[in-house]
Symmetry: C2
Subunit: 179 residues, 2 copies
């Protein structure tokens, strides 16, 4: 139903494609953004389940979580892509990014506190750096004809990011953050 851009696509297109009357659509969704958000919430729920099943089945290292994210994106490629292209897409991406940053930032804060580190770069900036890079890598991967597996992507992301985080947070060699 929504395989293309999102403000490029008109309400009428959706109506035609979905064989639904205008009035009916507006009985279910307040407006266009609401419709898009409902799609987003659906994907979000699905991702929640995916991650839950993942976590339940064993230890959740950061690598595993990252891979789970890539896997879920691969499984729902069309929907992911339809969500990230466009104005509302940018808005959603911003929301997701902000939440991820918040999550990662707290994680970094804990790590820094636990090990009494003196970060060379503020944790806020490190967190936002890492998340942005992740999101970018993800979106780019979604756009390209998938030449890499989810596991590959996760590993590459890990390989690039761990050294950066170590340097930013002033860790020494073997001192890697988990989860």
């Amino acid at each position: 139903m929504l395989e293309k851009g999102y403000d490029a696509v008109t309400i009428q297109d959706i109506l035609d494609r979905a064989d639904v009357a205008r009035a009916t659509l507006y009985a279910h969704f307040r407006d266009k953004d609401d419709l898009m958000m409902s799609r987003f919430e659906a994907v979000r729920g699905s991702l929640g389940d995916h991650l839950a099943g993942f976590v339940r089945s064993g230890a959740a290292s950061m690598r595993d979580v990252v891979r789970a994210l890539f896997e879920h994106a691969a499984e729902h490629r069309a929907e992911y892509r339809s969500l990230v292209g466009s104005r509302s897409g940018s808005a959603i991406l911003a929301v997701v990014t902000r939440q991820l940053v918040k999550l990662v930032r707290e994680h970094f804060r804990d790590a820094v506190a636990a090990r009494e580190l003196r970060p060379a770069v503020p944790v806020d900036i490190v967190a936002s750096y890492v998340v942005s890079a992740f999101v970018a890598m993800m979106t780019q991967w979604l756009d390209s004809p998938q030449s890499h597996t989810a596991a590959d992507m996760a590993q590459m992301f890990q390989r690039l990011t761990l050294p950066a985080v170590s340097a930013g947070l002033n860790m020494h060699g073997g001192d890697r953050p988990r989860s």
Copy 2:
């Protein structure tokens, strides 16, 4: 003239703010995007001058170039911000990112070839990773009440990015890319 979002702002707003008649505006610019692009080109030209003056005045290490970018953004903060918020903003950001990726990718390719490295992560991905992180850091910096100087930002970016690139391209300790 354009200190706020860009598809949020209506043509009429611009007309009022600029004390110009509708017909006059459309005599100069084909459409809204054309107007926005002309602003972008102006900033782009200004950046070109800035970098040229920078390069002329001595060796241009990567750190210096990065700092020059942050400096220019700080000088033209309002215009930068007006350019990055909105649909057209996303488009522009995409264009800029793509060009930067191209640039950085070539640079990495050369470095890899010159040193006969066996990158653990494809140069394309490393390049796009780095550029995305840079763009994100830049936009975030533009949004926040500038608590860091351009030099600070450049240094932090450097500190985070060099280890990541080294790891991705399989370099050993002291083997840092220049430019």
